[in-house]
Amino acid sequence: MKFRSLFLAVLCTLFMGVSLTSCSDDDDDDEVTTGVFILNEGKSENNNAGISVYNPETHAVTADVYMAQNDKGLGDTGQDMIQYGNYVYVTVYGSSRLVKLDKAGVEVASLTFSAEDGQPRNMAAEDGKLYVTLYSGKVARINAADLKIEKYVQVGKNPEQIVEEDDKLFVANSGWGEDNTVSVIDIRTFEVVKTVEVTVNPNYLQEAEGYVYVISYGSFGNVPYTLSRINTRTYAVEEITTATLMAEHDDVIYLANSVTDWSTYTTTTTFFTYDARRGVLNNASFLQDSPEARKLATKSIYMIEIDPNNGDIYIGISDYNNNGDVYRFTRTGEFVKEITTGSLNPNNMVFFN
């Protein structure tokens, strides 16, 4: 089995150039050796999660590399995608599975979670292990090589994102608006050592400079979306501002705050940053003025990702009905390109060196 997977991987990598260009909209012959994967969440009950490949040089987009390489669909509702070692790991929420892909999009291993495990949400990776949050209120430790579950630890209700910092795992327990805690797990003992109270409904986590940044959804009207940060040693929590989405690069937290006015049906998004090193909020937009930046200022932002190699900023939007759009800017906020992804709701990107 292992040999077969390896063989397939090699084979597919060899033929990747051919198969990828044959699927792409633009008919060019660039090889996608260093490329970008975009995870399209898709729409629930539509089995249309997929991974688009974006060539940052030619801007060519391959709609669904997983389908092209594996002759089957990724599944229903792509939730999270991370890069670890030479592989890409994807959790598929509706299909309740975790897949391990090589950089050509060939599946090398997969794991289906049981009804007791609950459906998978998000991942962190460290020292050959994957840590996956499960809707049963657990975090599973999984061997990144063969995707075997080694151990579980119970955290809070409906855990969402998870990050590693300082040999600890931080887990946001959303409880679908009923929980307000971040569980801290000692990565060596794999036990919860601390439960930190934050603003209700924590979902997103990022780490930078000895702090874990948390975005809580709040309680839909009464408590706004809140960005706060947890000191990873003292566990002290400080609230920073209102924000709906974030990304981190080079100790800068990139933030978006999307607000919809239901009386006029209009959405306003502001973009700003937080300097994690100095602990200073910078309200200036990280996007330079352009028609595209102005357009984004009227949309709900679905994704912010930053290319760790060059600091390019990718912003995804979605109307849940049409294929998603991703806008690429340079690290200085200059508009580069608008990409239409192969499916609905682009929500994660990984960048290959």
Binding site: K43, E45, N46, N47, N48, A63, M67, N70, D71, K72, G73, G75, D76, V92, G94, S95, S96, R97, T112, A115, E116, D117, G118, Q119, Y135, S136, G137, K157, N158, G175, E178, Y217, F220, G221, Y225, T244, L245, S258, V259, T260, W262, S263, Y265, T267, S300, I301, S318, D319, Y320, N321, N322, N323, G342, S343, L344
Partner: protein, 665 residues
């Protein structure tokens, strides 16, 4: 015996023969009908109707082997039935792409309502005691009706059977046993008794169970696998009692008590790699309705009805993602309804009617923040019908007033609206059955309780969703060739516009219901019906319909799906039925074909879902004894084993069979 044969012919062919001839005085069959089958409901003429009308009788549905009411309705032209598959799956009806919210459903003349969901699930109605189903675009021609009948963009009307008594008997009994694939067992009983010379009572009961584990083909990329549908079982029970009485002063009293309950698995969409599904739904519905109708003299008539409706459901899902491992929702709705209609016929050319309805609807559920809404709705309609030689004009204006009370939170503003309807039918030549018809209707649907109050999505600021219909057509019936008994053709074109369409609008993590959508619908439909006597007592009946529809989303010019076909609406669809009647056996073949559709708003290959054709064959024979009639029938449904979805990832069953035996005393 001779009389009985006529009766048999009528019973078997009646539906096929009467549609036009029933009202065309120059055929002989009409007299036979009146002599023998007095209790049968008069079949309305589809050719003379000013509003596009389609009719199918209960007997016809039985002979053609239709599996359910939804199966019958989806064969009507211009109709989209959303069928989530299986016997227990939700089935809703949209007329001419206006959306299921705009379809009114009448059960024995009284509207069935669901203020919480807005759409009526027609999956629950049994076919066993149905005598006729009609679908009218706009509204029915008859203006002596409750005001609610005027309030929808289309009306699906279900009429149940009236008791029939053979000879001098004062009772009748019908026992039926149906069974078939996927564990279907469906016995039913119907008993009717004459209580007095002009009063009769009937009681119906039917029980249905099916495990619903049918095989289907699942396509995932290059891999094609045979799978089985699980959690698709159903257990349901339906009982109903009807009282019919013709009083001494020739006024008519009817009363009905209805009870339905079911437990079913909700199989959900097929999810790749994850077959887990534990969703279940329990339903209970009880209603009682009573009607009174009196024709004082040829000029004045009055009718009225009262109804109380109680419906309850419980939804349960078991999954570790919920607090406590399960989610349980309970909803209870009640309705009090009254209607009164007066009809006045001042001259032979003019009929005027005034109808007023009042309804109170209440919802209780166990969701957090349930505001326990109560809705008071009054409908009044003034309608007139003018007929002069070659011309028939029908027009009405409907006044709707809605006000709501809530126990907590915000309530919507009162709504008050006048909506008009006008139809014109022309018969240019008195000696020809050729009609031209035109229709205009303006209707709206009020936001449902879910639209207004459901958790965070609900929006009490919603306005009603508006629908405007324009339709024109030509109809004809006659005997063009000597080998034919009769041929009828109807052809209509239409344009509809839905504005302020209520849609769920996504924003950052919280969605809200908004009046945002706009849909433009252009369509054409043709229906043909023919009867050809082949030899002696052998006859051939043929009917077919075709619909072309372009229903496009015109909400947002900037959007990628601007002017693209709305989801689940085929451009081309059609159906056909062929029956061969012989004294020995009756054979029927039916087909329904639907072209490709899109699953989501964007018309891209990834969202395309293939068209399908489903073929069904049925054989039946009736045996008669001294005191009984025995009807045996076998059906082979979807005999080409077509694997298709109406809703993507809700696979429909492949080939299946059904056998039934009906014994009538």
């Amino acid at each position: 015996m001779r009389l009985f044969f006529y009766r048999l012919v009528l019973c078997l062919l009646g539906g096929g023969f009467c549609p036009v001839s029933a009202q065309t005085a120059d055929t002989t069959r009409v007299h036979e009908l009146q002599q023998v089958d007095v209790s049968a409901i008069r079949r309305p003429s589809v050719v003379r109707s000013a509003a596009p009308l389609q009719v199918v009788s209960g007997a016809e549905m039985e002979r053609l082997g239709y599996q359910s009411l939804a199966d019958a309705v989806r064969r009507f032209s211009g109709v989209t039935v959303k069928d989530y598959g299986g016997i227990g799956g939700l089935k809703t009806v949209s007329v001419r792409s206006l959306g299921a919210y705009h379809t009114g459903v009448m059960y024995d003349g009284i509207a069935v309502s669901n203020c919480q969901a807005g759409q009526i699930d027609i999956g629950r109605f049994s076919l066993d005691n149905v005598s006729q189903v009609t679908l009218a675009v706009g509204q029915e021609d008859d203006i002596f009706q409750p005001a609610r009948m005027f309030a929808s963009a289309g009306v699906l009307s279900i009429q149940t059977q009236r008791p029939e008594f053979r000879g001098n008997r004062d009772y009748s009994l019908q026992l039926r046993m149906k069974g078939g694939s996927f564990g279907l067992v469906n016995p039913s009983l119907r008993y009717a008794r004459r209580l007095a010379s002009r009063t009769s009572l009937s009681v119906d009961g039917d029980f249905l169970r099916a495990d619903g584990t049918y095989p289907f083909t699942l396509k995932n990329g290059q891999s094609v696998t045979r799978e089985k549908r699980y959690n698709s079982d159903i257990l349901s029970w339906h009982t109903e009692a009807n009282l019919y009485s013709l009083l001494r002063d020739s006024s008519r009293v009817t009363a009905k008590v209805y009870y339905f309950q079911s437990e079913r698995g909700l199989p959900g969409g097929v999810i790749f790699y994850n077959p887990y599904n534990k969703e279940r739904l329990w339903d209970r519905n009880f209603f009682v309705q009573a009607g009174y109708e009196k024709h004082f003299n040829p000029r004045w008539a009055l009718k009225g009805a009262l109804k109380y409706n109680y419906s309850w459901n419980r939804y349960r899902d078991i999954n570790v993602k919920y607090d406590g491992g399960k989610q349980e929702d309970r909803n209870r709705q009640q309705e009090y309804y009254g209607t009164a209609t007066v009809q006045y016929v001042p001259s032979e050319h003019l009929t005027v009617s005034l109808a007023t309805d009042f309804a109170v609807n209440k919802l209780r559920n166990n969701l957090p923040d349930c505001p326990f809404p109560t809705r008071y709705t009054s409908y009044s309609v003034l309608a007139l019908k003018y007929h002069y030689r070659f011309l028939t004009v029908t027009a009405n204006v409907l006044n709707t007033f809605v006000t709501e009370k809530v126990k907590s939170g915000e309530r919507p503003e009162n709504r008050h609206k006048f909506t008009p309807f006008a139809a014109l039918a022309l018969r240019p030549w008195q000696d020809r059955n050729l009609y031209l018809r035109f229709l205009y209707k303006n209707t709206f649907r009020v936001p449902t309780f879910n639209d207004l109050y459901y958790l965070r999505m609900g929006n009490t600021g919603l306005r009603p969703e508006l629908a405007r219909e324009y339709s024109g057509g030509i109809t004809w019936s006659g005997t063009p060739w000597s080998f034919m008994d009769f041929l009828s053709v109807t052809a209509d074109v239409y344009y509809n516009r839905v504005t302020d369409k209520i849609v769920a609008f996504p924003s950052t993590y919280v969605w809200k219901m908004l009046n945002l959508g706009k849909t433009d619908i252009t369509g054409a439909e043709v229906n043909v019906r023919a009867e050809i006597p082949l030899y002696n007592r052998i006859g051939l009946h043929f009917s077919a319909g075709y619909t072309w529809q372009k229903a496009i989303d015109v909400t947002d010019k900037e959007s990628k799906n601007y002017k693209e076909q709305i989801p689940y609406t085929p451009c081309h669809s059609g159906s056909g039925a062929l029956q061969v009647q012989t004294p020995w056996v009756n054979m029927a073949y039916t087909v329904i074909g639907v072209g490709e559709r899109y699953v989501l708003l964007q018309n891209i290959p990834a969202n395309r879902i293939e068209g399908y054709a489903e073929h069904t064959f049925s054989l039946s024979r009736e045996f008669t004894g001294k005191n009984f009639r025995l009807h045996l029938q076998a059906e082979l449904v979807n005999f080409t084993d077509e694997q298709y979805d109406i809703i993507k990832y809700y696979p429909m069953p492949g080939r299946s069979y059904r056998l039934s035996a009906t014994l009538r005393f």
